[in-house]
């Protein structure tokens, strides 16, 4: 399984939840905290992320930066 992760610009997030339905791994959820604008923001709830970039594609506020495990590290693991 390819591992990935996302960096989230929480101050830009408006909590619209579009990324939650777009995520095939179901690894995003809203926090109970709020950001400076008063919105609940999104966070990773588990480490199932594969770095597929679906969340970044549908995000209207461009909060996601997506990272994925490099191919060279995959070979090392095997």
């Amino acid at each position: 399984m390819i591992k990935g992760t996302v960096k989230i610009a929480t101050e830009l997030c408006k909590g619209c939840e579009l990324c939650i339905s777009a995520c095939p791994q179901d690894c995003l959820a809203l926090t109970n905290n709020i950001n400076l604008k008063g919105y609940k923001f999104i966070q990773l709830k588990n480490d199932a992320c594969t770095g597929c970039t679906n969340c970044a594609l549908v995000c209207p506020d461009a909060v996601f930066t997506v990272f994925r495990q490099s191919k060279s590290s995959m070979k090392k693991a095997v």
């Binding site: 591992k3 408006k14 480490d47 594609l57 209207p60 461009a62 996601f64 490099s70």
Partner: protein, 256 residues
């Protein structure tokens, strides 16, 4: 996430384009304008044409597009973005010129300018964001509003006898000889976003050829105007907007 060995080997696969400013968008949560802004700026960055690109901002929700797009921008009077873009492109023919307009701007007050610009075949790209409503002024009925759709100025639904039929602007301009590339895309799912980005890329590429106008309609959602939450607005878009405004290319160079 605590496993440091994995984190060390990560490579960057996506980040927001540098041509998009770090300012937070003023749009409502879930609004498709943000995605459309980002896609246009991604294409500009990928083509490396941020120094040669001039955008024309409309009046409407996206009136502050120049706060977010880090390219040269010009604000136009309501509906006149195509006319302003014509002037810019004729004076500076080596630049890439695009207009970014909503349905209230392009399909209502700017119908004449849009049709004549496309008919003259000006070498500009027109990005038309269609969300079937006037978003900025509070969700009034627009020319693109669907039959029986409830808005603040059609509280019992749009009646065709009194208020006319929805205006399919993209189908209209596809028949004009000046149009070179006409397509309708959406930004509601990851796959639609990928296709939309390709269409935007084509629109910029075709400007090099001096063959005519590229017209890209982007079907978008307006959760606040439609009075639904963002997740439901995606479903509403699929159920109601897409049957009326089917996605796909209407005019492709070499095929028509």
């Amino acid at each position: 996430m605590e496993d440091n060995t994995v984190l060390e080997d990560l490579e960057l696969v996506y980040e927001k384009p540098h041509t998009l400013s770090d300012t937070a968008f003023h749009y409502c949560p879930g609004c498709g304008h943000g995605v459309a802004h980002r896609l246009i700026m991604e294409v500009v960055e990928e083509m490396g044409i941020e120094e040669q690109t001039i955008g024309v901002a409309p009046v409407g929700c996206s009136v502050f597009a120049y706060h977010y797009m880090m390219v040269d921008m010009q604000e136009a009077a309501h509906g006149r973005a195509c006319a302003v873009a014509t002037g810019i492109r004729r004076l500076l023919p080596e630049k890439y010129v695009f207009t970014y307009q909503g349905d209230g701007d392009l399909a209502a007050i700017g119908t004449a300018e849009t049709i004549h610009t496309v008919n003259r075949g000006e070498n500009i790209a027109i990005f038309f964001i269609n969300n079937a409503i006037y978003g900025m002024t509070g969700g009034q009925m627009a020319p693109t509003t669907l039959c029986h759709q409830i808005t603040s100025t059609s509280p019992y639904g749009r009646e065709v006898e009194a208020m006319g039929h929805p205006l399919k602007m993209t189908d209209l301009v596809a028949h004009l000889p000046g149009a070179y590339y006409v397509t309708r895309q959406a930004v509601h799912t990851p796959n639609a976003v990928r296709k939309c980005k390709k269409a935007i890329r084509n629109a910029f590429e075709y400007q090099k050829l001096h063959k005519g106008t590229s017209f890209v309609e982007i079907v978008s959602n307006c959760p606040s105007g439609w009075r639904v939450n963002p997740a439901d607005s995606i479903k509403w878009l699929e159920d109601n907007m897409l049957p009326m405004y089917p996605l796909g290319d209407l005019k492709v160079p070499g095929k028509n």
